[in-house]
């Protein structure tokens, strides 16, 4: 298994290089730093000197891939590609276009993001599984039917409306929690209660329906028939046999999302004014801060690949039948 993981890790490095090349092409080839500078400084009334200064301030005044003027190794290292893209592999993200250190910002904003995303993930997963279990246990009854109808209706509502509705009802009408904002320490609880609730409710529809199909698929298998034929009661069959086996695809499927929790949620964080990585990204997009967007793309890819790796490992841990060689 270790050989397998090592192989996957090497593969992951190659994928990261690919991601790196794609983002480099997007941000430096399709749009040259000149274009970006012009956009930042205002399109019409901009002098070549202003562009040159803007580029020099941010280190964009070097050649893209190969520096003829430099000596030795510096011919390759003293370039935009090396300084802006290769450095990311060392998690050295440099400065944002407004001059702040990106790595420092990330280390600050990571915690509010996690404080929101982790409870949403855990509570949401638990509730989704519970509802799916209920619908699957009472399958082919009115409870199941209306449960599915409710799920379909809930997943047909845009996440934005859950947020807007929650803010209006809970915060404005009933005045239970603040509409938006954030505070450190235990004060965060009252700011986080509503976003977590909204996030959980917004995800129940699609999640519960999806897990229900997994449970139903499992119920139709032969070992379930065997268990019934032994004379086990339906409750025992369901909770001892079906539930355990269905948890394999459910949990391994959920693992991939765990590393991405760091990235936070774009929409919820900016609606509720939580200073996490999600709102950081949105602010960067809206301010057209390419340095930050580039870093977030890289981090997101790293986390996603980590998620894939964890998924593979979790398969081997949970399901002894799975062997990699």
């Amino acid at each position: 298994m270790y050989a397998y993981i090592v192989r996957r890790a090497i593969y992951a490095v190659f994928i990261l290089i690919g991601v790196n090349l794609i983002t480099f092409a997007l941000f430096f080839k399709v749009n040259t730093p000149d274009d970006i500078a012009r956009l930042q400084l205002g399109v019409k009334y901009v002098t070549p000197e202003a562009i040159a200064k803007w580029k020099a301030d941010r280190g964009y005044d070097k050649p893209l891939l190969y520096n003829e003027k430099a000596q030795g190794w510096h011919q390759f290292t003293d370039t935009i590609y090396f300084e802006k893209s290769v450095e990311m592999f060392r998690f050295n993200f440099g400065q944002s276009d407004d001059g702040r250190d990106i790595a420092y910002e990330i280390s600050l904003r990571m915690w509010p993001s996690l404080a929101l995303a982790v409870p949403v993930f855990l509570v949401g997963l638990a509730l989704q599984i519970t509802f799916a279990l209920m619908m699957a246990f009472f399958r082919a009854t009115y409870l199941d039917f209306w449960g599915v109808v409710l799920c379909v209706v809930m997943m047909s509502i845009s996440g934005l409306f859950y947020i807007i509705g929650g803010q209006y009802l809970i915060s404005k009408l009933w005045n239970l929690v603040p509409i938006s904002g954030y505070a450190a320490g235990f004060d965060a609880l009252k700011f986080l209660a509503l976003p977590v609730a909204v996030g959980v409710i917004g995800g129940i529809g699609s999640g519960a329906r999806w897990y229900r199909t997994i449970f139903l698929e499992e119920v139709g298998k032969d070992y379930v028939r065997t268990a019934r034929a032994k004379g086990l009661s339906e409750v025992v069959v369901f909770f001892r046999h079906v539930l355990r086996n269905a948890m394999i695809p459910i949990l391994t499927g959920a693992v991939v999302a765990i590393p991405l929790l760091f990235m936070g949620s774009l929409v919820a964080e900016s609606f509720f004014g939580i200073p996490g990585l999600g709102s950081y990204t949105i602010e960067a997009i809206q301010a057209q801060d390419f340095a930050v967007v580039r870093s977030m793309v890289f981090i997101g890819s790293v986390l996603y690949i980590l998620g894939l790796l964890l998924t593979d490992i979790s398969y081997t841990l949970v399901d002894p039948r799975v062997r990699f060689d």
Binding site: I15, G18, N31, D35, V120, V152, F161, G202, L260, V293
Partner: protein, 493 residues
Amino acid sequence: MPILPVILWTDALIYLLLAVVAGFVWYVRRHAHLRAPWWRVAQTPAAMSALVVLALFISVGLLDSVHFRLALPAAQAAQAGKAVSRDVAYAVEVKSLLDVLLASIANRPERTYSAPLATHAYARETLDLPGADGKPGKQLRTYPRLAYGGAHLRDPERDWKADVLLTGFRGVALALPLWLLLSLALVAACNSPERLASRDFWHAVWRGRTAVPWRAILITLALLLLLAVPMILLSLDYHVLGTDKVGLDVLYLSLKSVRTALVIGTLTTLVMLPFSVLLGIMAGYLRGVVDDLIQYFYTTLNSIPGVLLIAAAVLVLQVYIETHPDLFPTSAQRADFRLLWLCIILGITSWTGLCRLLRGEALKLRELEYVQAAQAFGVSEWRIMMRHILPNLMHIVLISVVMDFSGLVLAEAVLSYVGVGVDPSMISFGTMINAARLEMGREPMVWWSLASAFAFMLALVLAANLFADAVRDAFDPRVRVGNGGRRLAEVES
């Protein structure tokens, strides 16, 4: 009036899509094994009700996809400085057939917000009262009358309720005969005359026992008409769903948003479909180096977070548009190009799921006897892929197209909120929600824009979901498609 047809990029693709669908229907009708699952869809009450609703949305969207520029009247053209003897000058504004149909409600702008069916503005304004014999009059803080909403009422306080009720009642009264007519036409078009004449058939319809769920279809149609006809009648005199910040009718905005949603939901998959199908089949069938390369390619694309890739690409496009203004003469063309770009980039982020699924399926199919037989006969690999593998994967493609639709419509709203969605000048549910959100804090709340966007989106997405479920169940209840949408759904939560 002479017109200059304008075919936007997305229009052309919509026409192409229509042609593809028409060809597909023709093909399905000729093949029994394809007719069978569609027949199962046609027997599902929820799916057919959803289809009625979808048909309404699609017809609105299609009407909104025929674009042209109206010729300016000669006098205006002279003013514009373009009237050189015989040349016809055309308005810069690109209009659609829907705009012309809705001209009566689109061209009645108020000054700012007004509530649904209101006769007075939402906010107080200071009015100058004309004083007696030329003296400056008093100023009055009051809710001014709207320019168009309920303008025909002489005394709104007294007449408003009666007028609204009466018009609504007239609408209901008109809807019923219209419903009878439409239902008869619909049922007659799909059934033989002998069946129509038989009493048993209508009895079965009444009891809901026909093979095609006519009862559900007709009830849906009735509900739609009962809602639509009174609204149309009321919209002649009022702003049925109120007006937005710049005084535009919200009903008009909602109807215009339908096209944007449909374009995003359908063209996104259409644009990337050839790539994902071709690459998926090639990876699964050819194996070896090709497989490795394609897998590497889609894993790499997939590992870039979807929203961020979209954001990066849209930022790139913005820079491109800013630096090449000469390529986009009208704002409609600019907005349309951005919409198309958004479709492409959304497609790039979401095609990988389908590709992986097709690869897995092709891996299974290539071991089957009929493929091995074809190989033994010396059929070329390309031909095997196209003639033997592809037709047996089409159900997966179809399921994933219909399942992705609703997720994409929802994603549009979120992306527009993030600021990387459609052009701000383009009317869409996302821009509507975004504009309305800023007014949440006002007292009393401006709720009607949000409520309209909510209702229209819910109707569209719910219908799409119900229909997609039926299609999936009919074609292959075991295929786990639909999880592809979850990547986009992660954007949501």
